[in-house]
Amino acid sequence: MKRSKKPLTFAAIAATIGALSLAVEGCVYGPPPETNVYGPPPDYTRNEETEETLASKPSKIHNDNEVCVYGPAPDPTVDGPEVDVYGPAPDPTADGRENNVYGPAPDPTIDGPEVDVYGPAPDVG
């Protein structure tokens, strides 16, 4: 994992420049700019790019929208009914026991009871 080039905790920043300075900064400039939230990480870098730069980087993808082109081809052996994702509406009755959705039927000697596969880890304690 990369290492941050700046102190990451308020306490560490305060130790560097002083809590009073932090507070003054807080008063004058307001809180630091918000970063993310809960989706993908914020992308600051591209804010600095100019329109010209952006215009010079057209997407290499144009209407290349065929199903499965960008994902791997569905492997019925491994992925089972995932091919249905692109097809007809889901069958609600098929969603009930997901253990069998992916791959072969569970081997009870390996996987234990089916219920353990998708729920919490088995409580062996």
């Binding site: 290492r3 102190p7 809590a19 932090l22 970063t35 993908p40 804010n47 057209p58 997407s59 199903v67």
Partner: protein, 357 residues
């Protein structure tokens, strides 16, 4: 002045900012829920996604939103956040995001990465993806069990490596949802992730919503919560970019120590979203109730809705909760995160008062 006093000033300013944003919202994150289909079925999924649940609006409908946003809002400030389900299952993925890129939008994605082969990583580069967050929810067996896909861990790790190998994405993040059963794996998981050339690790607690409501014994105990926050803080003290998510007011001891900002729930003032049925709402994690749907892209212009509706999100959440109104921390918390609020019983499901502060 000590650190706590300095933090109070920051938080006071944040509260003033909150009032300003209610009057003049500032869209920063626009979420597109491309699909509710997913090739995994995580027990903690906030939106209860699963295989075969269907996709969102067609590509042309999303493109129309992009044109509207570019024309009528400050689109350079906005980051598109692509999510699902597993967004790579959306049939028009590359077409849509290539179009967004050509229009100058920044975009990032939340994904399970199991479908990111080398070719898909190249496609993501070609369509201009800037940032990505990949879910890794524990060590191999735990990850696979919790996410319902055998082999999912290995596929996801390979997907991350395929992203890293492109050397073009501006931020590759791993996100881990911690629960009562996988919290013991934090240290070992850190050792694994630290060996990878990722930019950050977001570690969040399981939230009592969606499918997780069916597993109450997986929710974090107060001791778990403190352990989680201390883990994150200790890493950050060593300049290791571990972050807690956006949720919840954490009190003066932990606020701004476990993430790069002070708490503010931006749902409806910084954040908007298009659900798979075209509904326009705020944060996708907020309970899907009729009063939170502000329009639909099939009948409404997104920019009009953003600028002229959304009032339900532009008032203090604490106005719904008597307990919050009486709390001494209300001015900094304002009722907490909107996604974890119990709107039937008018109380916050997740409150760290008496746990962290």
């Amino acid at each position: 002045m000590d650190i706590y006093e300095a933090k109070k000033i920051y938080l006071d300013n944040k509260d003033k900012m909150r009032s300003r944003l209610y009057e003049k919202p500032d869209l920063i994150y626009l979420f597109f829920e491309l699909t509710r289909s997913c090739n995994e079925k995580c027990f903690h999924c906030g939106s209860s996604c699963a295989p075969g649940l269907g996709h969102g609006p067609d590509v042309e409908a999303f493109k129309a939103v992009l044109r509207d946003v570019k024309e009528n809002l400050d689109y350079k400030k906005i980051q598109l956040c692509i999510t699902g389900g597993e967004p790579l299952l959306y049939p028009g993925f590359a077409d849509l995001l290539g179009y967004a890129n050509d229009m100058g939008f920044r975009w990032g994605m939340t994904t399970n990465a199991t479908l990111i082969t080398k070719d898909v990583a190249k496609m993501l580069e070609d369509t201009g993806m800037g940032t990505v967050s990949v879910s890794i929810d524990g060590l191999r067996d735990t990850h696979d069990r919790q996410r319902g896909l055998k082999g999912g861990y290995d596929k996801a790790m390979q997907g991350i490596q395929n992203l890293i190998d492109r050397h073009v994405f501006r931020h590759i993040q791993v996100t881990t949802v911690i629960n009562h059963k996988n919290i013991d794996e934090l240290d070992e998981l850190y050792e694994i992730l630290d060996e990878m050339d990722i930019d950050s690790w977001r570690v969040i607690g399981i939230e009592p919503m969606g499918r997780a409501l069916d597993y109450p014994d997986m929710l974090l105990t107060p001791d778990d919560q403190k352990r989680l926050f201390n883990f994150i803080r200790e890493k950050r003290e060593n300049n290791i970019p571990v972050n807690y998510g956006c949720s919840h007011f954490l009190g003066l001891e932990y606020e701004r120590e476990v993430r790069d900002w002070f708490f503010y729930c931006g749902a409806g003032t910084h954040t908007a979203a298009i659900r798979i049925n075209g509904d326009i709402t705020a944060c996708l994690d907020i309970e899907d109730r009729p009063e939170f749907v502000q329009g639909n892209i099939a009948t409404d212009k997104f920019s009009d809705v953003w600028l002229n509706r959304f009032q339900v999100y532009r008032k203090r959440l604490s106005s719904l909760c008597k307990e919050c109104q009486d709390c001494e921390y209300e001015k900094w918390c304002a009722g907490g995160s909107r996604h974890s609020f119990d709107y039937d019983n008018c109380k916050q499901r997740v409150c760290f008062k008496d746990i962290l502060f």
